[in-house]
Symmetry: C2
Amino acid sequence: MQTPQRIAIVGSGLVGTLLAIYLKKQGHTVHVYDRSADIRTVEFSGRSINLVMSDRGWKALADIGLDEEIRRIGIPVDKRAIHMKDGNLTYQNYGKEGEAIFSLSRGVLNRKMIDLAEAAGVEFFFEYRIWDVTLAEATLHIGETEKGPWSDLKYDKVFGADGAFSRIRHRMQRQSMFDYSQEFMKIGYKELHIPANPDGSHKIDKNSLHIWPRGNFMLMALANLDGTFTCTLFMPFEGENSFEQLNNETALVNFFAEYFPDTAAVIPDLVSDFFKNPTSYLAIMKCYPWTFEDKVALIGDSAHAIVPFYGHGMNAGFEDITVLNQLIEELGDDWKAIFRAYEKSRKPNADAIAELSRRNFVEMSTKTADANFLLQKKIEKWFSDKHPDKWMPLYSRVTFSLQPYSEALAIGDYQNAIMEEVMKLPNIEEIWNSPEVEEKIIALLQ
Amino acid sequence: MQTPQRIAIVGSGLVGTLLAIYLKKQGHTVHVYDRSADIRTVEFSGRSINLVMSDRGWKALADIGLDEEIRRIGIPVDKRAIHMKDGNLTYQNYGKEGEAIFSLSRGVLNRKMIDLAEAAGVEFFFEYRIWDVTLAEATLHIGETEKGPWSDLKYDKVFGADGAFSRIRHRMQRQSMFDYSQEFMKIGYKELHIPANPDGSHKIDKNSLHIWPRGNFMLMALANLDGTFTCTLFMPFEGENSFEQLNNETALVNFFAEYFPDTAAVIPDLVSDFFKNPTSYLAIMKCYPWTFEDKVALIGDSAHAIVPFYGHGMNAGFEDITVLNQLIEELGDDWKAIFRAYEKSRKPNADAIAELSRRNFVEMSTKTADANFLLQKKIEKWFSDKHPDKWMPLYSRVTFSLQPYSEALAIGDYQNAIMEEVMKLPNIEEIWNSPEVEEKIIALLQ
């Protein structure tokens, strides 16, 4: 059993809130701070991308008995729906029969999680601005303004669950031997909206992740419980087909008419949404170490902010909690050992999902519309169904398994090299499910 | 001719001071701020590695007529002196007859440069602590402490020449679309000291860069004008043969007796130097962009801190000034265009010298003691002497030419691939200067 600690968590997002529930159930005093107002009292910001929960996220929820409750506010999504420019619509299953990711509205989920944390006895302090932390003392510094007077909040442990622009990490960054990088994508995103039908039903298939793949830009849509869809337009900030060019109503309407003709019927407020909602940035943040002695630890986006193209930001953060919790159970009160083992275990996996997520933009925006790529996926699925012991597609490893991300990445690269050889076979379009191809893959696997 | 500007330079190091002279001579008002005391009034810190000036540095000095003055305080170094563990000493020339880099004490050079800048009319403000900058206003914020009251200093332009831990860059880092990375090496360094002989002469050859290459660690020494040498021990912080292990007098003395036996005669104060001088960190900092509108620009280490193993930190910073100056002459008062062209031109070259410098640790600490590597260098030199139009060794491209670093790196990699083929020739040790080898290289170059 653990010696109770006074623990501060900075950030009331999904990871901070779930971590709070875990730590509270272990008997600690848990205070969660957030510089923003309680998300339950405000409208959400118009800059979210819907979340998808997959096996890693479910595991972290199930271990603490919350999975059923959350499943009720999600919508299963078992396939991609690919909207081609000519209006053609095709579907690509994500996994095997019965395998699905779950679409969740960030705001809905976050509110629910805060309710659950409060019910568990976690205390929340909203609109508390944390400006700095004294790492060696696990002491937070709060105040109205950065330059104004601050007061100190002393804890035994501080967790920085304060996201990509973490203040806690910002202080750690100014230590020697702290590696850090931030990289902004040339692609930004804009939230758009498909309303529900008058009867509350969805206008397009709710069990699909809809993609309009157009090369260097794309539109996607994920369903919400209330019949609406959250749509996200990803495109470059500058250059051809960029946000820079869509700077007036005519340009915008013409652009959508040309590239996304089938959205005209379902996105009625395109113009007002587009010019009202901000154009948001995407960044990849990496750092190491993630902890300071036995006092401070980063978790979730503050330690590893990734791009959203694999739908794994939340899942990776929740898996941080699973690993941390296992180590706490294993190592008891030795928090120095817990923190060291935690960062060592998670860092290679965080780097791997960062890389997988970066690559997945090209898969979503370009390859989903490419016949060769679709054939390759079809062969992989066919072979995997015949030889489940020999082959699991990369997407399934990442999403429908708990295999460490770093292993999934390495094996995925190995499998891809094999598939490149297979795709070179003459007439592969004709013989894709022949014994010849099956033998070829088996031979290459040896 | 330029419209005079009020310009603040943050940092009175080598790059800040030379930039100040350039800008002053263009007719601007130039104020240089430094949080430290005037280096002319204090003893230097015991954590420096001697500088080497090479062609890029000389060019920046020569363009403004300062090269002769500086050459008088430097010592030409035309070769490496390799001290093997068995006491064997060999020499490797850096370039052709007459080509040399110049060893300079950082403190001596910096004091001289400040004198020259003051003589040119630059104003210096020492012990002024700059805590922050308002980028869009080119306004510096100074004060006694970070949290205490600040006052504002408004300029037309601000240059951040404030080194690897730049405050100016720190503010830029918190802008969207600013890419940044800091990476600390696992290797640190410690300054040691070889005193002069009683008659003021040098105890070992002053025209050599002395290296004691020992694999994952090494000692080096560069001469000073006063007969002394500044020595630098580079080794890992942790593990076998690390700073962590040399934690007492006996361990230190035994270690030096085993690995650097010939230094016993020339480093009399090993123990006191070692435990008095700090163990310093090495870091690589990268960022982009380097400028903010027409208001703020980073230059030197603040934009591109590199490891010291190619001896190019200062040279790269001085080359920033050369390029910036050319652009100012070309583009006149269009500072936005000047800044954009400056960062675009310099960024790939800064990345290239960062990579070359990183690689050079292995060259210095390991390859200089490797017979195959020495043979490869000998072949390159022989071929280059015969065909100067066809081959310039990488070291010469970087050090004895003004070829952009990025080109030098790319051509160096290309040449290295050729040399790998050449080194595979049977009996290459015997036939290294035969027509067969000459023809092979010429064939591979085509």
